[in-house]
Structures are given as structure tokens and as C-alpha cells.
């Protein structure tokens, strides 16, 4: 199985990006705010920018070594790079875009379900189709390492959920070391096996999505990971909504469509807390004692059963929230995102 290792320093405007990362046959997500140096790392692996220090290797072969003076050109590195906005060649058809890498486009177009678009030009495609063409093109080179830069950013919210699941399945099937860059924790949680949080060019924490949510190492990670991730089994209802039976026995309703094992993601700021179940429009109510109350900036993070809610300081005072007291956490079906886990 493949493996990719990097330990590099790359200067960017204002600071140094300094990271060490190793990936086996797995997808590692680099998550961080824009300008934190995520894209720079991918460009360094691809050979498009030169680090001032360090090593990059794939399957034991050195691609870059500042001491050994190894620096393979981009065309000599077996990377599959899906650039931000996909960077499809606008003057070439889908087929020719994929054939540019000198692979066999037919099989890949078939595999990614875009064989019917072979003759189309990129301008005629939807965001989801472009993403698949970009993936097919990146894979045509038989890469040892996959680099994905915000592959979901150009998609509209309706197709995002489906595309996340497809991408996750594809990456698993490929079994290649993949580095995924995104500013969206939910994308990272849905697609990647491990997540590294990048701030100002440094990795501040690495772990699974559950690790980062459950035990953030800093308020920043807490803020970023913020979302609640609940695991359960989804089933489509006749009314078009999805019912998810959570592992803890709770049942919630979502407007996202899914069936089978799913992760349910709810942002803490979408959850409201009250003393009693009220006649509001929220479909989901969780009645449980408060486990913890943690201040984050001008807000309070309140842990209720399996959920973390965020309320203002004023509300926490007004409701006289105290640990151990039973409250109702409520959130709307529209505030949930489902990500298939199979």
C-alpha cells in the first residue's frame, strides 16, 4: 500500500508554513481558515512551489530533499492534483482533458459515470460533473498520491451531500494516500479518515472528526470542529423526510435524504435550549441533564446528552442553566446534515 510523507517549511506572505504529515492508504484532511497555508502545502507536494527546508517522499521515493538537493519537477511526480475550481482546460473536451495525462480516458470516464459527457466542453458542465472530470483527469496519470483542493467548494448545497458520499466511497476504493484541503469541517468529517487542523501554517491538532469534536485542543479547534456528529441509522419516510435512529436510542428527523448508516451533523448554534418542550417549529427535541457548561468567547457551550449547544451568556443567565439540571435541546430538521458512513 502507498504512503506519502512530508516534513517541510515553505515561506508564504507573512509567515512560514511548517508541517510534518504522513499518510498511508487513507485520506487526511487539512482544515483551516483561508490563508492558513493549506493550498501551499499541496503545491509543495506537487512541486509547484519549492520548500526552503525538508523532505517529501512517496512510497519511499524522494521527491524533494533540501539537503540531498533532490527536487523533482511537477511532471516527474506521480501526483493526481484536483485544483481549486478544478482548472479544467476550457478549450478541450472532457475526453481530451482526461487524455491529456496520457492515460486511457475510456475506463475512467465510465468509472466516474461521465462517459456520456466525453465530447462536452467544460463550460457546458454542472459543478458536480466538473468535479468528476477533474477527478478522472487526476487519476488518469495513475498517481501515487492524490491532492484535492476544496473539491466541494464549487458545488451548490443540494449536491454537496451526495458528492461527499461519492467522493468518500471513491477514495476508499482507490486506497491511495490522499490529502484533502478544505475550510469546511463538515466536508472533512464526511470524506476524510483523519483531520489535521492548520492555523497560520502550523498543524495544531490531528485526529478523527470525533476526536476533534470531543476533545478539541484549543478554543480555535472547538470553534472549527464545533459541529455535533451523531451516528445512527437512516430511513426515508413517506413524507420525504429522513428519520435517523441514533445509537443511543434517540430518534431525530432530517430534511437531508439518506438511508443506511449515517453521521448526523448539527452546528451548536443551530440548537436552542429551553426549560420545557415548547410548541416551536423544531422537529427534534432532546430532553437530558446538562453535563457541562464551557465558556467560549461571549457564548456558553452547553453539553446536553449527546449534543453540544451554543447559547449567549445572557440566555444562560436568564435560564439559570446549571450542570445536572434537565433541559430540552431543540433543533430543526433543516439544521441537520447527513453524511453516509458506508
Amino acid at each position: 500500500m502507498g504512503s506519502a510523507r512530508l516534513d517541510i517549511t515553505v515561506p508564504v506572505r507573512g509567515f512560514d508554513v511548517e508541517v510534518a504529515l504522513a499518510a498511508g492508504a487513507e485520506t487526511v484532511a487539512l482544515v483551516g481558515p483561508s490563508g492558513s497555508g493549506k493550498t501551499t502545502i499541496l503545491r509543495a507536494v506537487a512541486g509547484l512551489v519549492r520548500p526552503t527546508r525538508g523532505r517529501i517522499s512517496s512510497n519511499g521515493t524522494l521527491w524533494f530533499d533540501s539537503r540531498g538537493k533532490v527536487d523533482l519537477r511537477p511532471e516527474q511526480r506521480a501526483v493526481g492534483y484536483v485544483l481549486q475550481e478544478y482548472a479544467l482546460f476550457p478549450h478541450l473536451s472532457v475526453e481530451k482533458n482526461v487524455a491529456f495525462a496520457r492515460g486511457k480516458p475510456g475506463d475512467l470516464l465510465e468509472r466516474l459515470g461521465i462517459a456520456g459527457l466525453a465530447k462536452a466542453k467544460p463550460a457546458e458542465l454542472s459543478g458536480g460533473e466538473r468535479q468528476r472530470v477533474a477527478l478522472a483527469r487526476a487519476l488518469a496519470r495513475r498517481p501515487e498520491v492524490l491532492l484535492l483542493d476544496e473539491p466541494m467548494a464549487a458545488l451548490d448545497p443540494h449536491t454537496r451531500g451526495r458528492v461527499r458520499a461519492e467522493l468518500r466511497a471513491l477514495l476508499h476504493e482507490l486506497g491511495l494516500p490522499a490529502i484533502l484541503v478544505t475550510h469546511d469541517f463538515v466536508d472533512a468529517a464526511a470524506v476524510a479518515d483523519r483531520i489535521a487542523v492548520l492555523v497560520q501554517g502550523r498543524i495544531v491538532q490531528t485526529g478523527t472528526a470525533e476526536d476533534l469534536i470531543a476533545a478539541p485542543s484549543s478554543p480555535f479547534v472547538a470553534e472549527l470542529a464545533g459541529g455535533n456528529l451523531l451516528i445512527g441509522d437512516a430511513r426515508l419516510r413517506v413524507d420525504g423526510l429522513t428519520e435517523v435512529l441514533l445509537d443511543g436510542g434517540l430518534q431525530i428527523v432530517s430534511t437531508d435524504e439518506a438511508s443506511g448508516p449515517v453521521g448526523v451533523i448539527v452546528h451548536p448554534w443551530e440548537i436552542s435550549i429551553s426549560r420545557a418542550e415548547t410548541g416551536d417549529s423544531a422537529q427534534n427535541h432532546v430532553r437530558a441533564p446538562i453535563e457541562s457548561i464551557v465558556p467560549v468567547g461571549n457564548r456558553r457551550r452547553v453539553r446536553v446528552g449527546p449534543l453540544t449547544a451554543e447559547v449567549t451568556e445572557a440566555s444562560a443567565v436568564r435560564l439559570r442553566l446549571k450542570e445536572g439540571e434537565v433541559v430540552v435541546a431543540a433543533f430543526k430538521a433543516t439544521a441537520t446534515r447527513l453524511t453516509p458512513l458506508s
Binding site: 509547484l48 519537477r73 511532471e75 485544483l83 482548472a87 482546460f89 495525462a101 462536452a120 466542453k121 496519470r141
Partner: protein, 266 residues
């Protein structure tokens, strides 16, 4: 007030052009262009500007690509130097070429030793035309290559393409519209070259006398021939401009994301 100013400007610009065609109606144009001076000048002009233009494309295109893609110390200074002939009087360009390649110029002795004499030959015309038109082409070509998304170049490289393949398959086809426009403008400028040519190459009929030089020579011989050649320039110039606009319009239409929106075959 603005309408009056615009009116004055239009009349001022159009009246002299109209006067040319009032003096030599289109029907008489062919007769007037039958004389030897014109035909010799046409041959010299076509031959020299074609050779000069090919040389400018051949050397100017890679130069522009390099300047558009690479960031290095002195890049700005280099671009400014290339643009300098744009703001120089063509007469100065002629003197500069004489000072470099003329018999008594910088390389005069070396060229003489090789048995090469450039001044007042067709080679001199080619050099003068190339010198004067190249900044027009290189400037436009730099802009054309700069408008190619660097991410496309990066993508091509990560797909295993070496520099030549990236240039030939990605940069060149995507810049071709801008390159064509720059090429047409430079060609037009080269065809009209006068000052540098008359100083560096002289005005020998059948050898170095290009069409603009023929206009000047015919001025006191046969004014109607001078006017007829001028008319030809107006027509060729208009044709180049109109084709550029039509080309730009057609290209713009084809890269619009909406053009195929209603008829995708999904």
C-alpha cells in the same frame, strides 16, 4: 456641448479620409495602381513585411511567454526596454539601426569583414520593419499569455506535461486570440513603416522602396498615384480593424458560459 465637440472630432477625423476617395473614386483605383512604381513597391512591401513579421512572431512569441510566466529581478526593466521603440520617433529608430548595423556603425567593421553590407538593402528594410513593429506584438502577446489562468498551466504540469507540451497544448491555444490581435496590429504597423526605413534603407524603387515610401516618392511625380496607394492603405487598415472586432466578438460569444446552457446533451 459634448455633442458639438464629438461632431467636430468626427468630421476632423473622417474628412481627410473621405477626401482620398473623393479624389480617386474606387472605380479608378485599379487603373491608378497599374503603374510600375506601385507594383514594385507592393512586391517590396509584401516581401519585407512578411519576412519581418515571421521573424517577430518566431522570436517574439517565446519572449512574451517567458516574460508573462516568470517573475525575476529586472523583469519590469526588460519590459520597459522592449516597449521603448513604441515612444521613439521612427527616425530615431532608423538612426539607431544605422549606428548599430550601418557601414560606419558599431558592427560595421565586423559585418564588412564577413562581406555583409546591410545599409540600403532589402535586409535593412526587414530590420527596420521588425524593429518598429516588434514592441506592438510583444506587448500584446505578454498580455495574451498573462490572461491564461496560471492554474491551468499548473494542472498541465502535474498531469505530466513538460514545458513544451504545456506551451503547445495549453498556453498557445488559450492565448491565440490575443496573439492574433497583437499580430494583426503589428503587421499593420510594419506595413506602414516609413521613418526608420527611409533613414536605414533608403528609397530605391524595386529594392527598398516600400508602399509608404512610394507615396512619398510619387507626391511630386503623380499625386493621383500617391492618393491611390493611400486609399489602398485605408481599405487594408479598415479590413484589419473590422476583422479584429468581428473575431473578438465571435470569440467572446464562444467562451460565454451561457451559450450552450439551453442545449446540453445530458
Amino acid at each position: 456641448m459634448t455633442a458639438v465637440a464629438a461632431g467636430v472630432a468626427f468630421v476632423f477625423l473622417l474628412l481627410p479620409l473621405a477626401a482620398i476617395f473623393l479624389r480617386v473614386p474606387l472605380g479608378d483605383l485599379v487603373d491608378q495602381l497599374g503603374n510600375d512604381v506601385f507594383r514594385d513597391a507592393l512586391v517590396v512591401s509584401l516581401k519585407t513585411s512578411l519576412i519581418a513579421h515571421l521573424a517577430v512572431l518566431l522570436f517574439g512569441t517565446p519572449t512574451a511567454y517567458l516574460l508573462a510566466r516568470k517573475r525575476f529581478f529586472g523583469r519590469g526593466a526588460l519590459i520597459t526596454l522592449i516597449e521603448l521603440p513604441l515612444v521613439l520617433p521612427p527616425a530615431v529608430a532608423g538612426i539607431a539601426l544605422l549606428a548599430a548595423f550601418g557601414r560606419f556603425g558599431l558592427l560595421g567593421d565586423e559585418l564588412d569583414a564577413l562581406g555583409i553590407s546591410i545599409g540600403f538593402t532589402q535586409t535593412a528594410v526587414v530590420l527596420a520593419v521588425a524593429f518598429v513593429e516588434s514592441p506592438f506584438y510583444v506587448r500584446g502577446a505578454i498580455a495574451a499569455f498573462e490572461s491564461v489562468d496560471p492554474d491551468l498551466i499548473a494542472a498541465a504540469r502535474t498531469l505530466g506535461a513538460g514545458p513544451w507540451r504545456v506551451f503547445g497544448r495549453i498556453a498557445l491555444p488559450l492565448a491565440v486570440g490575443g496573439l492574433g490581435a497583437a499580430s494583426a496590429l503589428a503587421l499593420a504597423r510594419g506595413l506602414g513603416e516609413f521613418g526608420a526605413t527611409i533613414i536605414f534603407a533608403g528609397s530605391l524603387q524595386g529594392v527598398t522602396q516600400t508602399l509608404p515610401l512610394a507615396i512619398y516618392a510619387e507626391l511630386d511625380q503623380d499625386f493621383d498615384v500617391a492618393v491611390a496607394i493611400s486609399a489602398l492603405f485605408v481599405l487594408v487598415g479598415a479590413a484589419i480593424l473590422i476583422s479584429l472586432k468581428v473575431f473578438a466578438w465571435a470569440r467572446h460569444g464562444s467562451i460565454s458560459p451561457f451559450r450552450f446552457a439551453a442545449s446540453t446533451s445530458r
